[in-house]
Each structure stands twice: as structure tokens, then as C-alpha cells.
Amino acid sequence: MKYVDEFRSGALAAGLAARIAAECRPGREYRLMEFCGGHTHAISRYGLADLLPPAVRLIHGPGCPVCVLPIGRVDQAIALARDHGVILCTYADTLRVPASRGSSLLRAKADGADVRMVYSTQDVLKIARANPHREVVFLAIGFETTTPPTAVAVLQAAHEDLHKLSVLCDHVLTPAAMHAILAVTGGVPLDGFIGPAHVSTVIGSRPYEPFARDYAKPVVIAGFEPLDVMQAILMLVRQINDGRAEVENEFTRAVTPEGNRTAQALVERVFGVRDSFEWRGLGSVPHSALQLRPEFARFDAEQRFGQAYRAVADNKACECAAILRGEKRPQDCRIFGTACTPDNPIGSCMVSSEGACAAHFTYGRFRDVAAA
């Protein structure tokens, strides 16, 4: 497949692997966090761990939209679907995120709630147009990648006066989460970041500069193809060896320093930053999420239905929080692969294919056996 196969060449990967191995300094460890679930998935799916020398340790980050959604946020959506009789629309993986009392949007749907899976916000608009007498709520989740389409949907709804459509806004911000990880005292020791791919196409490479400047952590923005990841690792190893901490861009075919100005303007017009937002794993993070601006308040489901957010504690046995901070690995959790599996997830990291636990279970768990 043109423009894809070029980034999945086994021969080129072997060449990069050899260079990484040759350039790793003896006795030194390279602890690299791939922030994005998309990278976590690519690393697992292509078995990249097998190509890397033991000195390179990849640490999964929190960049998986459904993983960081706390239970209380899913509860809000379920309550809207069940108690307010709305048509609740959201992206596929969100349906399976565990909520309170063993519930999930998928189970609420089975119990009779009108929950619909959508592929894009355009689907939501279609549903709202087709059901002018029903309240339609879009549970909007995701990082900067999925935010512009939500902004477009809100503007379109205002333009068409789709006054029964509203958005339960759980959009979150990548740089704030990276700050939160670095700010944890006694948190995971990191030598650098593999920076987001799709998020960076929107926000550009500039927002990562504080991590290089203030925290002295190199950041290499990388595409989601396996060769992108390998190339970014080599670039990080070189920065670390040189004692440099810079923002470098491996994904130049899609990411510019400024990012997508049009998308940023749309987001800016529709959304403002919340004072604080609770993340699964990271707790309350200041200025880390978006809400609709007052002029679009009529499209804000939280206000429309008077839905206050209530925090709910995670399952005690679940290690998702520590895994999302990079402090633990999926296989360190005692319910990993036993009580918690992709078919019956207890923690959110076991839900999406981008979640660290689901990726390790689905693609990598044979390694635990080999290691045991």
C-alpha cells in the first residue's frame, strides 16, 4: 500500500535497530515515554520491543483518550442516557469503559438506554437532524486530535439551530498531562518523550518546548508507523548521548512548528480551558481540559441537564492509575490477564487497543511467560 508500506519496511527497521544498538552507551539506560496510545499500539502490534536493545526501555504514557476518562465522567453519560432519555452518541471504545457498579455505556445500551456509536461528529449531526424532538448528547472525548471536529459540530449545530443537541465535553490537553507526569515528585524517572503524532499535527511542535527548556527532557515528535517510532528512538538516544534536550520533529511530513492554525482557531472560538479536570491516574490537573465557552452554553450538556461531576474511586485492585503515570507496567498489576481482560475490562487501560494493558495483553503477553 503506497505511503504506508514505505514506513513498515522490515529491512529498514533492522538497519535502524542496528544503529540504535550501536549508539547506546554501555551501562546506560534510556527510559523513553511514548506519550500516545497510538505509539503504544504500534510498538506492541509490530513487536518493536524485539528489535530494541535491552538498554532502551519504553514506558507507556497516558495518551489514550478512553484510558484517562475517570469513572465519574462515564457515570455522567450513563445517567443522561438512562435517566434523561437522551440519545447518547460517542466513539466506539468509550462504550466499553468501566463505570460505577460494573456498568458501562454498552451495558446501559443493553438495558434499553439509547446509546449510539458514531464514527465522526458528522454522524452526531445526522442523528440530531433525524430526531428533532429528542435530546441528543455527544459524549466528546479525546485529545487535541478529536477536539476540532467537536468544535465544527457545535458551530454547525448553532448555525442550523439544532437546539436539542448538546455536548458532554471531556476533551483534554496533552501538554498539561505531560507537565503533570513530570511534576510528580518521586514519579517515574524519564530520559525523554516520544511526542504525539496526530495531536502534534493540530498543536504543532512549539507547545513541547517547555519540556525541553524547563525540565531538560528531549522530545521527538514521531508518526505512528513503526519506522517512525524506530527513527524517533534513534534521535532520542542521540540527544541523550549528546546531553541535548530539544524538541525535534521526526514527523515532518505532517507536523509543523505552528500546527494547524485553522483547527486551532475553531477550537479557540468554541472552547475555553477548565480551571481543573480530574484524569484517571493523574488526579486533578489544572488547566488540562476544555469546556464550551459561555456563548455556546446552550450546547453544554453539563449545564443543560444540571449534571454535576462526582468523582468515583477506581477499583482497589486496579493499577491503571500507576500504569498511566508510567510507574508500573501492565504485567505488574495482579488482576492483569486474570480478572481483567479485554473482554471483561476492570480498568480503563484494558479497554482500548491503545491502552497499555490491552496492547500488552493482546500482542505481548507471551513475553511474560518467556520471562517467568
Binding site: M1, A13, D123, D343
Partner: protein, 346 residues
């Protein structure tokens, strides 16, 4: 012949109504003028509650399959041909020669008779091509909104090849894993036409009766131990079933698995893995390693197996992992399908 029903069935403009399932004249007319006329054969013509079959061979194989595919008509086939192929293939994967089918139709009130005719004609064509006879059937009608046009359940009976036993628990470490051709075409053909997901893709379902290909493979004399058609859940799920039944592991070679470029591109677009996408005209065979070349040659000599390939090897593995060496040179698990990839694919 006299016309007990008065005017003939208005197939062009007519619709299924509740009387077509009520057991009275209208039902008899539908059966006579549409089903019996289209699927005609001596055993069906017996016209009794069941078909009296001539006793062939020693061992028979019976298999059944319900078909609820949506949309009913798709590139490369429709629910009628699929209902024949699906069950014929289940019988064929046992190593039997399929001979007879039953067909039970659940029709929704309001379904256009012209569409029903198209489906039954397609079914008759698929049966004729496969050399099987639809010998008995049933028709029920459910109220509008309680079905989705038509559901078809077929049961097939076939005659087992003498001296042969195939079973999912027979794979042994060292055996070769063969695949008869490119994967994912049926699932992606359906998906590209699915409401809300339509995209233009030159992808045609591979739906086909596989017993001819199976006969060619078995005639080669290769020691075949397991045959399966990787339908729902795709190649990945079927191999996990075999690994689990046989208590073995497997190691696949990603680069050896044939996938059409259009299927690969469509999967990429939707974030799907072709290994989990349904097929309706492919088989997986596990055979003795020393016979792999012979078996592969036999598959490739048949029109339905031109792109057959050896995709992996059975290994001893207490954990029953199906693993794969990726094109990148790394290794990963090829797990069971988790959850539902796409409902109503067949």
C-alpha cells in the same frame, strides 16, 4: 395444472404479508410458485413434511448455519448464495461431500417479493453450481419491525470420505498451516456497503462453495489433519480455536499471508486488522510438514486456491499462544477477537 390460488403471485409488485406464513393458501402459493419452482429437484418435489433421502455411504456429516447478513445484497453475492455456501463449507470442512440442504426462511412482513425472488434464484444458482439440492424447507413470517427483511437458516448433509477423519484437535507440533488465498474480502465488501459506513472500494466478497477445493486437497494424498473456513472472527480467531482444541501453539509469518491491496487499504482506513475480518470462500488447512508442498500444489491448481500459501507452523506451547513474526521482524500474539468487530457479517 389447475390454479388453486387464482391469480399468480404478483412477484414484481407484491410484498410479504402475514398470510404468507399462516399455513393457508397464500403460504402454499408462495412455496409453490417461488420456492418450489425455483429450487426444484426430485427430493423437494416429494412435497412432504420432510425429504426421504437415499442412504449413501457409511458416515454422514450434518451442519447448520443461520444467515442474517446486512445488507442482503452485497458485491459478490447476497444472503441467498451465502446461505448455500456457508453451510456447504461447514460440511466440506469435515471432509464430507455436501449433497442436501434444508432452508428455513424467516420473512418480515412487507418484504418485497421481487427481492425474495432474487434471493431464491441466487440460492438455486449457488446450489446448482455446488451440486447440492435444497430438499426441504420452511417459511415463517414475522410482523413488520420484528425482522430485517429475511433471515435464512440452512442445514446441510454430506457424505463422508471413506477412511478420513478431520478434527480441530488433530494439529501436532511441526505441522504446516496453509491458507487458500487472500483474506478479508467478504468482511470488507460488507463493511463498505454498510449503512453509515459506505465507502467506494473495489472489494468483492469471496463467497464460494469450497468442497471442490477440499476434494482437490484431499485427493493429493497429503496428510491433512484439520480443515476450517475462517468466517466470523477471521483467520486469527479460527487459528486460536484450532490451537486451543489441539493444545498447541502456532507461529505465523505475517509476510506470507496474502491480503489484497484494496482490502489492506480499507482495513487501514477503518483501523481493522485483516486477520480478524470474515471470509466466506477461504480455508485453513493443517497438514503434516512433509506433505506441505504437495498440499499447496493441489490447492494452487484449483481456481479457488490460486494464491494459497503456507503461513506458519504448529508448535508445542503449553499456553496455546498463536504468535506471529511481523513484517518488521518483531513478534506478537495473534489473539482471539475481543468483542464484536462488526455484527451481522454473515
Amino acid at each position: 395444472m389447475s390454479r388453486p390460488h387464482g391469480r399468480p403471485l404478483d412477484i414484481r409488485h407484491g410484498r410479504v404479508d402475514m398470510s404468507h406464513g399462516a399455513g393457508g393458501r397464500a403460504m402454499a402459493q408462495l412455496i409453490e410458485e417461488l420456492f418450489a419452482a425455483t429450487l426444484d429437484n426430485p427430493l423437494l418435489r416429494q412435497g412432504n413434511d420432510g425429504a426421504l433421502l437415499p442412504a449413501p455411504g457409511e458416515r454422514l456429516v450434518m451442519a447448520t448455519d443461520s444467515h442474517v447478513v446486512s445488507p442482503l445484497f452485497f458485491a459478490g453475492g447476497d444472503i441467498g448464495s451465502l446461505a448455500v455456501h456457508g453451510t456447504v463449507n461447514d460440511v466440506a470442512m469435515m471432509g464430507a461431500h455436501p449433497r442436501w440442504l434444508s432452508a428455513a426462511f424467516v420473512l418480515e412482513e412487507g418484504f418485497a417479493l421481487a427481492d425474495l425472488q432474487r434471493i431464491v434464484v441466487s440460492m438455486a444458482g449457488a446450489a446448482r453450481e455446488a451440486g447440492v439440492a435444497v430438499v426441504t424447507g420452511d417459511t415463517k413470517v414475522v410482523e413488520r419491525g420484528k425482522g430485517d427483511g429475511v433471515f435464512i437458516t440452512t442445514t446441510g448433509v454430506g457424505v463422508m470420505r471413506a477412511g478420513l477423519t478431520l478434527s480441530g484437535d488433530a494439529a501436532r507440533p511441526g505441522d504446516a498451516i496453509l491458507l487458500s488465498g487472500a483474506i478479508g474480502n467478504h468482511g470488507m465488501a460488507i463493511m463498505s456497503q454498510r449503512q453509515g459506513l459506505e465507502f467506494d472500494a473495489p472489494i468483492v466478497s469471496d463467497t464460494a462453495a469450497l468442497h471442490g477445493l477440499v476434494a482437490a486437497l484431499l485427493d493429493s494424498g497429503a496428510a491433512v489433519r484439520v480443515l476450517r473456513d475462517p468466517t466470523r472472527g477471521g483467520v486469527a480467531t479460527t487459528l486460536n480455536e484450532i490451537a486451543s482444541q489441539s493444545q498447541v501453539g502456532m507461529l505465523l509469518e505475517e509476510g506470507a499471508i496474502p491480503v489484497d491491496a484494496a482490502v489492506e487499504a480499507a482495513c487501514e482506513l477503518l483501523g481493522l486488522d485483516p486477520l480478524y475480518v470474515a471470509n466466506e470462500g477461504k480455508l485453513l488447512a493443517v497438514c503434516a510438514a512433509e506433505d506441505a508442498a504437495r498440499a499447496l500444489a493441489a490447492l494452487r491448481a484449483h481456481p479457488l486456491g490460486l494464491r494459497a500459501a503456507r503461513i506458519g507452523t504448529v508448535r508445542a506451547d503449553a499456553h496455546g499462544f498463536v504468535q506471529m513474526t511481523t513484517r518488521m521482524g518483531g513478534r506478537r500474539v495473534v489473539d482471539w477477537l475481543s468483542g464484536e468487530q462488526l455484527p451481522r457479517i454473515c
